[in-house]
Symmetry: none
Amino acid sequence: MARRKQGEGSSGRTNDPERTKADILKVASRHFAEHGFSGGRVDDIAKETNTSKRMIYYYFGSKDGLYEAVLERAYLDMRRIELEIDIPNMDPLLALRQIVEFTFDHQFRNPWFARLVAIENIHHASHLKQIAGIREHNGSVLFQLEKLIRIGEERGVFRKGLKAVDLHWMISAFAVFNVVNESTFSFLFPVDETVEKQQSNRRTIAVDAVMRWCQP
Amino acid sequence: MARRKQGEGSSGRTNDPERTKADILKVASRHFAEHGFSGGRVDDIAKETNTSKRMIYYYFGSKDGLYEAVLERAYLDMRRIELEIDIPNMDPLLALRQIVEFTFDHQFRNPWFARLVAIENIHHASHLKQIAGIREHNGSVLFQLEKLIRIGEERGVFRKGLKAVDLHWMISAFAVFNVVNESTFSFLFPVDETVEKQQSNRRTIAVDAVMRWCQP
Amino acid sequence: MARRKQGEGSSGRTNDPERTKADILKVASRHFAEHGFSGGRVDDIAKETNTSKRMIYYYFGSKDGLYEAVLERAYLDMRRIELEIDIPNMDPLLALRQIVEFTFDHQFRNPWFARLVAIENIHHASHLKQIAGIREHNGSVLFQLEKLIRIGEERGVFRKGLKAVDLHWMISAFAVFNVVNESTFSFLFPVDETVEKQQSNRRTIAVDAVMRWCQP
Amino acid sequence: MARRKQGEGSSGRTNDPERTKADILKVASRHFAEHGFSGGRVDDIAKETNTSKRMIYYYFGSKDGLYEAVLERAYLDMRRIELEIDIPNMDPLLALRQIVEFTFDHQFRNPWFARLVAIENIHHASHLKQIAGIREHNGSVLFQLEKLIRIGEERGVFRKGLKAVDLHWMISAFAVFNVVNESTFSFLFPVDETVEKQQSNRRTIAVDAVMRWCQP
DNA sequence: TATGAATGAGGTTTCATTCAT
DNA sequence: CATGAATGAAACCTCATTCAT
């Protein structure tokens, strides 16, 4: 039998705080990304969860607290994933291409992140500003890009004076706009292509634009 | 002083439906852009208006109806303004530069438009899809860009195969991202510059990127 | 040219008070009968009318006033129609049969009257009690039935001691219940017949029951 | 005085959902029966309750939902009570008399039921049709009457060919009309009798009419 | 730790009625 | 006589949050 607490397993009750919190966070991420912060419903989140509404308040204190936790987790995950790209001895142009493509694809496949960011911007980043240390954590992207720019400059494949924050801004603009404005853009300017073809096309545009902009 | 139209100002009752509607729409635009659709409050909008909450329902039927009217008006205004740019005999490269700069600046100075679009995207463009004729109206931008592309190609200053919808996508990405993601981006990646300097810098990035992307 | 007021005819504007009032009353009758008093909407009535909402208030003072006028008109019409039955030298049994059949059919073909009465009963006849002279007017039915009963008794085809008010009560019970409770009754106890067949059947029941009850 | 259940009375908070729901339903039944559906006020119902308006929505979802629950409960109660009449070895004529008298009296003493049904008919039985299983449940009356008719026919005290649904229709017509149209009828055709005397008289009419109609 | 019942404040919407022309 | 704009009060309903067990 060995160490199994009474009641565990039967009805979703876990008695595992970390698991419970993770479950709530995952559900809440998707829910807020789908409905926005004001449009999000604590009741609905609770229903989708394996636990009850009371647990949300127990662990996160309030709707705002829950949303902030969601946001923090989202940024941590995103930055962690980005760091997986390895720009060691790779050719700078190839590395740049990979970064743009990876960012573009990853955001497209995980649209809830970009949507959460968009939602947070509607609220003037007020929740983000409550999250301690989030700024420092995000600095990692810039370090990576700085490294790339330095190498590229040295080898003469990038023009001089590129700034990491500008490059990140441009890459983000494409990757985020692509996800976040998809609904209105594709409705207003429909293209006669499959979604896959269209995404591939837009990714090419993004890659080309970034690379042309970086080169001498 | 003179120049005061009969009944204007003071106590609100205008008996001028167009004025009343325009008043409501203007207030509502700013309010929804500020708080989102779900976060927007009909009560608050009414308070800022010269009229009462009842009139909002009299003219727009519901919160959704009001929001749709706001959205429609916003798109109409935006497209009308864009058409003011004249690409007649101008040098294509110069015209392209002006279009990007104009779009970039105009969106920055009227951030509520981009915010409304972002909000609408959170809701999967469900309201936009209710607005009859909005799609047709928006086509005008593409016509303009197509004209520009044709001239640029003929003169050999643009590379071949450019598509208007792609160009519009890129220009929008910069102009919209710049406005909509400003809060989170500038919080996470602060730059030690004045806002004006920063905007000027980003505009340069956008212009350069677009022009490099269009040229052969 | 000859006596035609400016604007007459063009847009429904009549300048004929009686016609206007009659128009409003007719529309309001059907509307209240359909939705009840509380469920009735002055706005909706106005829209169905050839005139405007203001006229309703001009002529009838209030929603209650309009409803009372509707009720009065309905009772007047109903009693007037009933008096058209002629019981002169007719055979009493035949006359009785005709009265029951006529009442039954007429109520069925003009269900809004019975519905208005049902609605008024929900409100404890409070509006009816405001209508001056309505009680006296309704007495006519009883006079007619009394005449019939007298003749029937004299000829020995009716049993002794019948009272007009009881006879009217019974006839009304069938005719009114048939109309007013149709929705719930036919839903709960559906019969596999055409509506016409069913009505004919119920009318037979009513006629048989009344006649058996009157005969010695 | 003893005999007071724990928590009963006083401050309202029961944490006993069934009791809370029953309390709401009872108050709502009387309220809707008194004012109709459109004329009924959720606020007023809540005030008469031991709980708050919020709980009405918690348990019943909407005003319509509450009304449907009221209607369902009313029909269930009515049919349950009717079944208490026992037609075992009783003389069919006596049993018939008892059924008519019981129905007549019971409806008169519980007028809110007939009023609810009248109200529901104003709304074309739209709520009733939402109630699952209500039709099946109501079938019980017909079974009972069929049994009675069969016995009566066999013994030759009823004429042949009687149908249960017709008999139920007739009994209902008297019992329901007596309650529902009381206000207008007694106002228009006042009788110089006590209410008790009048009811007794009408009950006699109903019994006589039904029995004469059933006999050969 | 966990649950379902309960809540007050506030949100959207509706309605009969009146006003200005 | 006639109209459409305008209104305040009150209606229905929702939401984040807390309580009792």
